[in-house]
């Protein structure tokens, strides 16, 4: 403590303190950058996987009996049900939509709204990805909102196999 006090009052100047401050800033900047890229990568991966789920739910819920007559219709209830099945079975989320890698919690999927329309066949998922970062003591849980939509208007295929 005495040494620190002497160092702070030293008017001749000491580069040691300056180096300490510089190292602290460089380290903080490096941690902020790496954390930003980690979260960005996590967000993109999750968004990609969710988009795939929304696409496949629409594809599965298309009503082929209407498609062959030139109409594009979707069973919206089935699409929603299929999307939740995808969350649990394919994304490996638990009942509260938490994602774990081994025993470690990675993120939680927060579903705000699911809008499904029969015609045009469209499924829109609005929600957020909740995750933690090393800067939790500053910001708490990080919330990354997203809106993912899928539309299927293809009528030229399907329904040919009775």
């Amino acid at each position: 403590m005495g040494h620190f006090h002497r160092m702070m009052n030293n008017r001749k100047g000491d580069v040691f303190l300056f180096i300490l401050i510089l190292v602290f800033f460089i380290l903080t900047l490096a941690v902020i950058l790496s954390e930003y890229f980690r979260i960005e990568s996590l967000y993109q991966q999750a968004e990609y996987v969710i988009q795939r789920g929304v696409n496949s739910s629409v594809e599965y819920a298309m009503r082929d009996d209407y498609r062959r007559d030139g109409y594009s219709l979707m069973d919206s209830a089935l699409a929603e049900e299929t999307l939740y099945a995808y969350f649990y079975e394919n994304m490996g989320l638990d009942s509260e939509l938490n994602k774990y890698a081994g025993n470690q919690w990675v993120y939680q999927l927060e579903v705000d709204r699911i809008d499904a329309t029969d015609s045009p066949p469209c499924l829109t998922l609005t929600g957020a990805l909740k995750t933690r970062s090393v800067f939790n003591f500053l910001s708490g849980t990080i919330r990354l909102p997203f809106t993912i939509s899928s539309v299927n208007i293809r009528i030229e295929e399907g329904g040919s196999h009775d």
Binding site: R52, S56, M62, D64, G158, G159, H161
Partner: protein, 161 residues
């Protein structure tokens, strides 16, 4: 003074080209040349290694694109090989592609049912040139690269029962 005299005597006994090496008065000129050479060598090494990373990134991009096409098509068919060949031309790489861990719902047409997963692996051997002597072939190290990406079919195949 005595030591200076001794030093001068030692120096004069060496052949002329080596006398400069023992000169302790020093000129920063030689020091600067050596440092510049070291920096240039380091930069050349870093730049040549960048090629390895670029190739790996290209291979990763190729694999990702091909996986996406298979996901959308739900089938290992002509469009997949078209994209693969076009990417080969664009990047100048010629990797080998294998499709693994796949269960086809229609074996003959290689159709993958909705939400069934598959893995595409691309392997490539990057030739890293160490030296390029004029009198013989370049001396190269082969760096093996392997990218493996898992995808999931987004196509629903309604198959006859």
């Amino acid at each position: 003074m005595n030591s200076q005299h001794r030093g001068m005597g030692e120096r004069s006994s060496l052949p002329r080209p080596f006398q400069k090496l023992l000169n302790k008065e020093g000129s920063s000129y030689i020091d600067l040349i050596i440092k510049t050479l070291v920096v240039i060598t380091l930069m050349a090494t870093v730049i040549s290694f960048l090629g390895v990373f670029t190739t790996y990134l290209n291979l990763n991009h190729m694999c990702r694109r091909v996986v996406r096409v298979v996901e959308l098509e739900g089938q290992i068919a002509e469009p997949v090989y078209d994209v693969f060949n076009r990417l080969k031309q664009q990047t100048g790489l010629s990797p080998e592609m294998t499709i693994e861990d796949v269960a086809y719902c229609d074996e003959q047409n290689q159709k993958i049912q909705l939400r069934d997963t598959f893995t595409i692996t691309m392997t490539y051997s990057y030739a890293f040139t160490l030296f390029r002597p004029s009198f013989t072939d370049p001396i190269q190290i082969q760096i093996p690269m392997r990218v493996s990406i898992t995808g999931m079919s987004e196509k629903y195949w309604k198959l006859p029962e």
